[in-house]
Point group: C2
């Protein structure tokens, strides 16, 4: 829980002067907040944060000068305990996703009741994340669909599965940027043998050189294979 004997120091950033005034009035009703600044400029906001170390920054993401997402990132980089709550007019999945990814701790739509803004400030001040149900759902849909895309690429019928375990070992070393000789000495086989394996890998992956083999491996979820023989496994 936050220390209620101390006022929460809040900075407002919104390029719209009317919104700025509105929020300022709203917060001034509450006695537990002190507004350390209210600015229309993202760049100025960064300076104010450096100077005053506010607990909370309420920020509009739709600003022209410096885009809101960049500003969040810039704030995160300061390494302060300052927490960012996003104010936005849109419930765009991608925007929510990126804002949260860059370090925002809360996200409030301008269309929401103003009491929600207070809820958000309180929650975030206590170290929680504030994301209204509808936005959380949007966020997760986006999050899961991008994860599915990753999974699809790496799980799809890919040519990597046709590699033998030795070829996998060789490819693993190829993806580390190692040349024939070093691969040979690491696997304790001759370099001509390595060449044979590499050529077989090329055939199977349908590429003509190591760079493309490595690229194929990396973009198709190639992982170090731990193909130990099953009979050597002990089940607990």
């Amino acid at each position: 829980m936050r220390d209620f004997t101390k006022k929460l120091r809040v900075l407002l950033v919104d390029d719209n002067a009317n919104h700025l005034r509105g929020i300022k009035e709203l917060l001034s009703i509450e006695t537990s907040y002190s507004i350390v600044g209210a600015t229309r400029s993202a760049n100025l906001a960064i300076n104010l944060i450096k100077k005053y170390h506010p607990d909370i920054v309420l920020m509009d993401v739709n600003m022209p000068e410096k885009d809101g997402l960049q500003t969040i990132q810039a704030i995160s980089k300061l390494g302060l305990s300052t927490k960012v709550i996003i104010l936005s007019g849109y419930d765009d999945s991608d925007l929510i996703y990126r804002a949260m990814k860059l370090g925002a701790k809360g996200y409030v739509l301008k269309t929401m009741a103003s009491s929600k803004l207070i809820d958000a400030i309180e929650a975030v001040a206590e170290g929680k994340v504030y994301l209204p149900s509808i936005l959380a759902t949007r966020f997760f849909d986006y999050f899961q669909s991008s994860a599915r895309e990753e999974a699809r690429v790496s799980a799809e019928e890919n040519l990597l599965s046709s590699l033998t375990s030795r070829e996998n070992e060789v490819l693993e070393l190829l993806t580390q940027g190692i040349n024939y000789k070093s691969i040979a000495s690491q696997l304790i086989i001759s370099d001509t043998t390595v060449k044979t394996h590499v050529n077989n890998i090329f055939q199977k992956l349908q590429v003509n050189d190591r760079t493309n083999a490595v690229l194929y491996a990396l973009t198709h979820g190639f992982k170090v294979n731990n193909n130990k023989k099953i009979e050597h496994l002990t089940t607990v």
Copy 2:
């Protein structure tokens, strides 16, 4: 909102028979649910889902046979509208993160009040995501820290920034697995010039061959650069 004239069809999966019985009783009090099955086996669960297409699957993630996360993935792959709610004894960030990534729509701790489970079912049935405040915070901390790691690697003092714009173009083509000749013809310069650029790239990235240059580029956030000359830009 869900159709309250129809009962929600729920499947229970938990390797602990007592938990299974407990949840079953809990849900049977509510008249709006019909339990289509209750099993201790993850593999059996998959078959039951294929057969009965339940609306909701309540699943324990701590099962021996098939691990819970794999099961979520398997369920997602079925492509049904079945939604998974995780029951777990732990509030492990990584577990929450992975479960949500794999397609879970809700996450409830066993230590939580049983009314929360009903809340979760209702929320998820309505298409929302259910993640209690504390778990949401855990999730986002994990999510943001892994995003920070990515950003760190790509933003850290990296050697890519020393490349000229022409070298960037060449590197871009290298990362596509293209050879000297093709790069030359694409950039409409001689291949000896390409070699010069490539050599300069090697020097700057401190590598000795193209595979390592490509690997460096890919692991250090190399992006296609749109370095058009500033005087050609039109500001709107």
